[in-house]
């Protein structure tokens, strides 16, 4: 009974109903309500409606929505409002609107220009063709360095962290596929997605999205029901997160949990514990690291489910971003399940290329190099690129201060993954099955590993590496 409820999106009768016109209307209304509860703008439900009416023009519709999202971004950045323009057209700041027009047009042209160049990737000079993603990154980083000199270009520079990995997927696609017949609208929709996301491209690029794109009414209905399920799950996780924050940390910022802070434990978040002059007790410190891990899983799952839910509602039945990481029984499996699209990014752009280039090395060394290239270097590079101002100003000291603890986190994570991969390989060779008790013990060990290394990853105001190391001493009872 519980299983059939939780797997409602697989029920044959419901799937048939979902294909019909009344079924599609109900799906859209439910999506509208759920998306409003998630505070997603009206653009997404409008895009879903348009795709429902014209599924064959899905990519074009989503690309038009992408232009609207870019416009929304610059309207908010320039503190402009369409409503003000309509209600008092004579009192508008003309220069601000001109600036908005230049930025919007410039951003679209920038993406179109890169698309045109990428589409001919198969005809690039051999040196560039063999390293298309590296070539893209070098050009964009040089653009950042030069762009820092002029304010207008600096605004475009702000787009780089958001666009660079999406453009990387696009360039990789064209390096492996002939660009003939490809339109800008086949790519714009994921370069600036109306379905949202972070700097990590949820759903990757066209190669991946195309494989999961629903082609007939039955598969569209299946994807949409799966999308609704994820939006419901996201809502449940989001409410649980608010309840958790109120009861554990005394943080009740929404009306849903207002008043509950009276029963709060009143504990500090992990960052606060690390930065505090007087540290927590032994039990509080240990509970603090596990609770922080639990919270980060809940937070990531709630946000990721909304994005993937939206993707499914427009007919891309892609994997979830977070899938039961707390049930993973190895460090590797947790990494696989915690932030799927970030892991995929690191695997595709760092892990595979390194592994293929190091065939001279012994298997264990080869694996070590590939894992450290991905979870160590790639992870670090991704995060440093997230704040391009320090790169643009060439502030190496600032970069070190901003990222030293993350560097330690990346090295610990890479070591854990490498060891876990070696252990997994030897377990597969032995083929031994495990009992429930051993599995529980392994899950506990995985929680402990991630909870401990998270000490280096968590935001802690004013906490230098020494403070974080001292926190470990507290955990050890000193």
């Amino acid at each position: 009974m519980i299983r059939s409820l939780s797997q409602f999106h697989e029920q044959p009768r419901l799937l048939v109903l979902a294909e019909s016109a009344p079924g599609q209307t109900v799906i859209w209304l439910m999506a509208l309500i759920l998306l409003r509860l998630h505070e997603v703008t009206l653009l997404m439900p409008l895009a879903i409606a348009a795709v429902m009416l014209q599924p064959a023009r899905r990519r074009l519709i989503l690309s038009i929505a992408a232009v609207a999202v870019v416009a929304e971004h610059y309207l908010s950045r320039q503190r402009l409002s369409i409503a003000d323009l309509v209600s008092a057209p004579t009192g508008v700041d003309v220069s601000a609107w001109l600036r908005f027009g230049v930025l919007l047009t410039g951003s679209i042209l920038l993406m179109y220009g890169i698309f045109l160049i990428a589409r001919r990737a198969h005809a690039w000079p051999l040196l560039l063709r063999s390293q298309p993603v590296l070539a893209l990154h070098v050009v964009l980083l040089l653009g950042l360095a030069v762009g820092g000199l002029w304010p207008l270009f600096a605004i475009f520079g702000e787009l780089v962290p958001w666009l660079i990995w999406r453009l990387s997927y696009m360039v990789k696609f064209f390096a492996q596929n002939n660009g003939r017949g490809q339109k800008f609208s086949d790519h714009l929709f994921y370069l600036w997605p109306v379905f949202g996301g972070s700097r990590t491209p949820y759903g990757k690029g066209l190669d991946y999205l195309g494989r999961y794109e629903a082609k007939d009414r039955a598969s569209i209905a299946r994807a949409q029901l799966a999308g609704l399920k994820l939006l419901m799950l996201a809502l449940a996780w989001s409410w649980l997160l608010q309840l958790f924050d109120a009861l554990v940390y005394g943080s009740a910022e929404t009306t849903l949990v207002q008043g509950l802070e009276r029963w709060s434990l009143g504990w500090s978040r992990l960052g606060g514990m690390i930065g505090a002059e007087t540290g927590p007790g032994l039990l509080e410190a240990w509970l603090g690291i596990y609770l922080e891990l639990f919270r980060s899983v809940l937070y990531l799952a709630a946000g990721g489910h909304v994005v993937v839910g939206c993707l499914r509602l427009v007919g891309f039945n892609v994997f979830r971003n977070t899938y039961k990481p707390l049930l993973a029984d190895s460090v590797l499996e947790f990494w696989n399940r915690y932030y799927y699209y970030f892991k995929e990014l690191l695997v595709e752009f760092f892990f595979y290329p390194t592994y293929l280039r190091t065939s001279w090395a012994a298997p264990r060394l080869r694996l070590f190099l590939a894992v450290f290239a991905a979870a160590g270097f790639g992870n670090m590079y991704y995060h440093v690129l997230g704040g391009p101002q320090l790169i643009m100003s060439g502030d190496l000291v600032g970069l070190w201060h901003a990222w030293n603890s993350r560097l330690i986190y990346c090295l610990l994570l890479a070591t854990g993954i490498w060891v876990s991969m070696l252990r997994q390989q030897s377990r597969r060779t032995s083929g031994a099955s495990i009992g429930r008790l051993i599995r529980c013990r392994r899950i506990g060990a995985v929680w402990t590993f991630y909870a401990l290394i998270h000490v280096w990853n968590v935001q802690a105001a004013g906490a230098d590496p020494a403070a974080r190391f001292n926190f470990y001493l507290r955990l050890a009872g000193f």
Binding site: E333, F351, Y352, S359, P363, M421, R428, G431, S433
Partner: protein, 84 residues
Amino acid sequence: MASRQADRDALIEFLGSIARPGQSLEDVGDQDNLVDSGIIDSLSVIQIILYLETTHGVNFRALGVDPAEVVSIQGMLQAAGHGQ
């Protein structure tokens, strides 16, 4: 033909050894993407690469074959053909 069938049988046996616990290769078609269908994870692809390199002498870098192309049985057999 007999050689290709032998390659296929050996490959299926190997894939069985790296499949996720509880996953079966019985209903898998030659063109199915094993990562997408959850039978292996994307990191296990390196074990397929290693297998094709050592068993069939495939040089992925020289051939310019992307690891994403060896996630189906058909793709693996094609890559194995390049190495022979």
